[in-house]
């Protein structure tokens, strides 16, 4: 039984990290229909900038993390305005390639400017671990889980309760009508890129004490986050959160009970199975899918 609960703990920890990436994906997708491949890079930047500022410049955690969030948000918004918006009339797959280009650019710049070593942020909660009936839990993991929950709830509140959030729904539902009632779609989408970059950077901050990070950490995160978003469904706020946690749990149970070598394949097979029966994802809603 201890083993079972230890696997659950591991799965939820790892899954929360995937969920944080997936939540960022969802917001941009909701506003623009774009899958932003650079979402993983935002997570990497949040961790890298904070870690470098703390270890090499001796800056404290709070100012370092604020700088990291601000820089990442600026990168998110600017990359939308300079690279994606000018091509907004192009097909979805063309915009996907632009975001791939942005992710290659960010990875390349990070390696050139911040170096290629892996970076760790010291755990900022203590004690480092605690033990409940033989199950070991990292304190930092609780923070990651709380972070994912908080981000998912805030996203939901933001989309359904705030004026801007309603604007996003309006822009994605009917662009022309949204313009007519005085909503500026460029500002709305730029804001969404900024917020999703912020979600990514915060995710990087809380996760890096566990995962460590380096300039090339973003790709794998983007792929896992993409899987999480697809499994959960991208048209609801709960989708990416549940999708992320499930992928994490599948991997943990795959590693614990099936084969650690094929745990990723195990998780992907379940995902394929789910997509076969519910192509829109677990929480997806067919009608809001963009054509």
């Amino acid at each position: 039984m201890t083993t079972f609960f230890q696997l659950v703990v591991s799965g939820i920890t790892v899954g929360s990290i995937y969920a944080l990436v997936a939540i960022g994906f969802t917001l941009v997708y909701r506003a623009s229909g774009i899958f932003n491949f650079a979402q993983g890079e935002y997570v990497m930047l949040g961790g890298m900038i904070t870690g470098i500022l703390m270890t090499t410049c001796g800056v404290g955690f709070v100012p370092a993390s604020l700088v990291a969030i601000l820089v990442t948000v600026a990168i998110g918004a600017i990359s939308y305005l300079l690279a994606i918006r000018p091509a907004r009339s192009a097909a979805q797959v063309h915009l996907l390639i632009i975001t791939i280009g942005i992710s290659v650019l960010l990875r390349g710049l990070t390696s050139a400017l911040l170096g290629k070593d892996f970076v760790r942020i010291p755990t900022f909660v203590s004690p480092e671990t605690f033990n409940i009936g033989g199950v070991v839990i990292q304190s930092q993991a609780l923070l990651v889980i709380a972070g994912a929950m908080a981000m998912a709830s805030l996203l939901w509140l933001f989309l359904t309760r705030s004026f801007v959030g309603k604007g996003i729904t309006a822009v994605s539902a009917n662009l022309m009508a949204a313009k007519l009632v005085g909503i500026n779609p460029a500002a709305i989408v730029a804001l969404c890129f900024g917020i999703s970059a912020c979600i990514g950077a915060v995710g990087g901050l809380v996760a890096t004490p566990i995962t460590m990070t380096s300039y090339d950490a973003g790709t794998m995160l983007a792929i896992k986050g993409f899987s999480a978003a697809m499994l959960g469904g991208i048209s609801s706020a709960a989708g990416p959160l549940v999708g992320g946690l499930l992928i994490g749990l599948f991997e943990a149970f795959g590693a614990g009970y099936v084969s650690s070598t094929y745990k990723d394949a195990f998780a992907l097979l379940i995902l394929l199975g789910v997509l076969a029966f519910r192509p829109q994802g677990l929480f997806g809603n067919r009608s809001t899918q963009r054509v």
Binding site: H94, G101, I102, V104, T219, S227, L272, L275
Partner: protein
């Protein structure tokens, strides 16, 4: 007139064939011949991907999986089954096509990003398998591939594969040109514009998509086998997830819905890194930057965008 001719798939096939024949007369260096060969090899996969994406409108992030299956079939055929490398190549293409046929039906019920996810999962599973079955595949360090070439015709190993890859490329373009001007091809194009409308017109949408999927998988396997035989050594990194992303990028950058665009996209991404080595640490940053700039300046991809420009300026 000129622009119209350039859009004709048979004309572009002829143009590519002329380049393949003329290039060895111009360049002598083995390095340049190798680069050209790699451009041909990647063009073959991208052609298939273009048929699937540009004509049938289905996005795949898993074609590196088919590519690597083709590559390992020429590595494993001779070493495990004692087969002749040429036979292994044919067998690999056939088996990969059969696999695509089997998984194609359920996969293609998905569309858009969901199909991209499902194909990505397929590619990742193939990659994990090849990386971890060390006793069979040699694991991440890869395995040797038995040498096969046209030395009986007095050609060096490299030149053999230059001609073979170039020949396969022209042949693939010819087959696709024929396909696209046949009723099946017109059905595919109708699909891209609107699946619903195509269905109403009596086109078997599922069958048309499946055909494009199987052809693209076969071309990917053929290209993979060519690469493995050219190099004489193959590692799983040749077909990882990043390779799928790269192939997709080649197809889009070159231009969806244009056969010669596939060749242009492959050439762009094979050759560009060779020019960027001067920049050392900033190599990747510049590659990403150029990718963004190209896609913003030429939003339809290199070939269709240039075509549009030419249409405006030429009669």
């Amino acid at each position: 007139m000129l622009t119209k001719a350039l859009q004709n798939p048979f004309v572009s096939t002829l143009a590519v064939a002329l380049i393949v024949v003329a290039l060895p007369l111009v360049v002598g260096s083995n390095f340049h011949i190798r680069l050209a060969t790699m451009v041909y090899i990647f063009s073959i996969v991208v052609l298939g991907l273009n048929l699937l994406m540009g004509y049938a409108g289905q996005v795949s992030l898993g074609h590196a999986g088919f590519f690597i299956l083709g590559a390992y079939s020429v590595a494993l055929g001779p070493s495990q089954l004692g087969l002749n490398p040429w036979l292994s190549m044919a067998g690999g293409v056939a088996l990969t096509s059969a696999l695509a046929f089997v998984i194609g039906r359920p996969l293609l019920r998905l569309s858009g990003y969901h199909l991209a996810m499902a194909t990505l999962a397929f590619g990742a599973i193939v990659y994990v398998f090849i990386t971890n079955e060390v006793d069979l595949t040699g694991g991440p360090d890869g395995m040797q591939v038995q040498r096969a070439n046209l030395s009986v015709l007095g050609l060096s190993h490299l030149m053999s594969w230059y001609w073979l890859a170039g020949g396969f490329l022209v042949l693939s373009m010819l087959i696709l040109s024929n396909l696209l001007s046949s009723p099946a091809g017109r059905a595919l194009r109708a699909l891209h514009d609107s699946e619903v409308a195509a269905g109403v017109l009596g086109i078997d949408v599922a069958r048309a998509k499946l055909m494009a999927f199987v052809i693209s998988a076969a071309l990917a396997a053929l290209a993979g086998a060519n690469l493995a035989l050219l190099d004489g050594h193959i590692t799983p990194a040749a077909g990882g997830i990043l390779r799928s992303v790269e192939l997709l990028t080649m197809a889009v950058v070159g231009g969806l819905g244009s056969l010669v665009g596939s060749v242009a996209g492959a050439a762009f991404l094979v050759l560009l890194p060779q020019f960027l080595t001067e920049f050392h640490d900033y190599e990747h940053a510049i590659l990403g930057f150029l990718l963004v700039v190209i896609m913003v300046m030429l939003p339809l991809g290199i070939v269709p965008s240039l075509n549009a420009v030419m249409r405006r300026w030429l009669p």
